[in-house]
């Protein structure tokens, strides 16, 4: 069933294709676009407030999923190669007490990193990344400029990504 979204999709097909190519879809871009079309046809989504950004978001998510599953496959193959000589962990086992302690320790470190960024940066990051609030709303809440919020987020992200990197290599 043709919805308003489908009509917008057809009108912007070329731009969406261009986006998927730029996103690195290569020769799969046409197929991905076809997938999107099928999804749109399959479920009647009802009115969407900003149809075009919605479609771009959908295309972007498709690409993220592709990248994610490709990376996971790679990691699995790597783990297999590395683990082949050793004992494989039983995947059905619950998280061990040791692992849970490690996880709690990591959460503590993350909390400390956030706290050290200062209260405003921490609050901005929490609102954005954990509670999913938009930057415009956060800027209004705090009476600061959008640029300030964006800078705070970059600062927080940088610190958190560095921490994650450090934890992963430990």
């Amino acid at each position: 069933m043709a919805t308003g979204l489908s009509a917008i999709f057809m009108a912007n097909r070329a731009a969406l294709l261009r986006f998927l190519r730029a996103r690195g879809a290569g020769e799969d871009a046409e197929d991905l676009l076809q997938d999107m079309w099928m999804k749109l046809e399959a479920k009647d989504l009802g009115p969407v407030s900003d149809p075009l950004p919605y479609l771009y978001r959908m295309a972007n998510n498709l690409m993220l999923d592709r990248y994610r599953s490709a990376t996971r496959r790679e990691r699995r193959e790597q783990d297999w190669a590395e683990g082949a000589g050793g004992v494989m962990a039983d995947p059905t086992e619950d998280i061990a007490v040791d692992d849970r302690m490690v996880l709690n320790e990591q959460l503590d470190q993350a909390r400390a990193v956030l706290r050290d960024l200062g209260p405003r940066v921490e609050m901005v990051f929490r609102r954005f990344r954990i509670e999913g609030v938009g930057q415009r709303v956060i800027a209004d809440e705090l009476g600061v400029s959008l640029t300030t919020v964006e800078k705070d987020l970059q600062k927080a992200y940088r610190a958190m990504l560095m921490l994650k990197q450090k934890l992963d290599t430990e």
Binding site: A22, L64, V133, Y157, L161, K164
Partner: protein, 314 residues
């Protein structure tokens, strides 16, 4: 290392309201490496989930978890020591040219201080403040609660120091509460800047800020609810009973404690202050879904409605 440009796009495109997909496409087309840098960071972002404290506030600490317990206070001591060292050096410099005096009210007592510049500060009970005879634009709230009606002067803003925090007026009526555990401010007119030299968060009329163990939060507040203790009322929207009982204690001059269960409860509404504690609690406690019972010289707030034969007369 982190690709800063790609990080910028992660932050922008992750916004629920992001709409500039044309600019994003243009950036991606500029260099084929951009897409993979963006993908890698977006994946790293989603993997942050495992180390993100999912709760918006601090996790409750188990009593048998000594690790966390000591970590927090230690950091506070560190900050406090630095702050104390700073204060020590500053006050030596300040003492030479200024005349700091301190004003304290007993619980239940209120007092109005009129400063030379036309600013008035109303102290609620159980409050200690410092002022400067030579500088009418300075005030420090050491503990308790005070309402400020400030004559605004763009060139020489009025500043209130609360612990390590500074509030700067921008033409303003506002109220600050400062206890061992928290600082809360509500703005009813004009604007106040929180820590102008650092965070510079601007609080308009109708906005409130709280800083406590859970971090920093800003929220809405009805302007009429700000400093309503001056009119013998306490007005709340979704406030913790723990905070409310401190407000009541300060305003009425009674020793008031609350059971942990009662402290965690929340209340929305207006409480009329009454000088007679027995009358006051008979009216106010049921409003909050609580019972007030006498405990020695003070009162205890506990959960649940008054049971038969368990009234204040028994």
């Amino acid at each position: 290392m982190i690709n800063e440009e790609a990080l910028g796009w992660v932050v922008r495109t992750r916004d629920p309201d992001f709409a500039d997909w044309d600019a994003f496409t243009a950036w991606l087309e500029a260099d084929r490496a951009h897409a993979s840098a963006y993908d890698a960071l977006m994946l790293a972002d989603s993997e942050l989930d495992s180390i993100l404290p999912s709760e918006p506030v601090a996790m409750p600490v188990a009593a048998n978890d000594p690790g966390l317990r000591t970590r927090r206070p230690l950091r506070w001591i560190g900050g406090g020591a630095i702050a104390a060292a700073l204060v020590a050096t500053v006050s030596i410099a300040v003492l030479n040219r200024s005349d700091i005096y301190s004003v304290t009210t007993r619980p239940g007592e209120t007092r109005v201080i009129a400063l030379d510049d036309g600013t008035t500060v109303e102290l609620n009970g159980g409050t200690t403040m410092r002022f400067d005879r030579k500088d009418a634009r300075f005030a420090a709230l050491d503990t308790g609660e005070a309402a400020f009606t400030v004559r605004h002067d763009e060139a020489n803003p009025f500043r209130v120091t609360v612990g390590d925090t500074v509030f700067e007026d921008a033409g303003t009526v506002f109220n600050i509460v400062h206890t061992d555990a928290a600082t809360r401010i509500g703005v009813s007119e004009g604007k106040v800047i929180y820590n102008p030299q650092a965070e510079a968060i601007a609080l308009r009329a109708g906005r409130a800020l709280a800083e406590d163990a859970q971090g920093l939060r800003v929220m809405d507040i009805a302007p009429a609810a700000v400093a309503s203790w001056r009119q013998g009322r306490l007005v709340y929207a979704n406030a913790a009973v723990g905070d409310i009982s401190q407000d009541i204690g300060r305003s009425l001059g009674v020793t008031l404690t609350a059971t942990p269960g009662a402290r965690a409860m929340r209340f929305t509404g207006t409480i009329r202050l009454d000088r007679d504690p027995a009358l006051f609690f008979a009216q106010a406690a049921p409003l909050m879904g609580l019972t007030a019972v006498r405990r020695g010289d003070g009162w205890l707030l506990q959960e649940g409605p008054t049971k038969e034969g368990n009234g204040p007369q028994s």
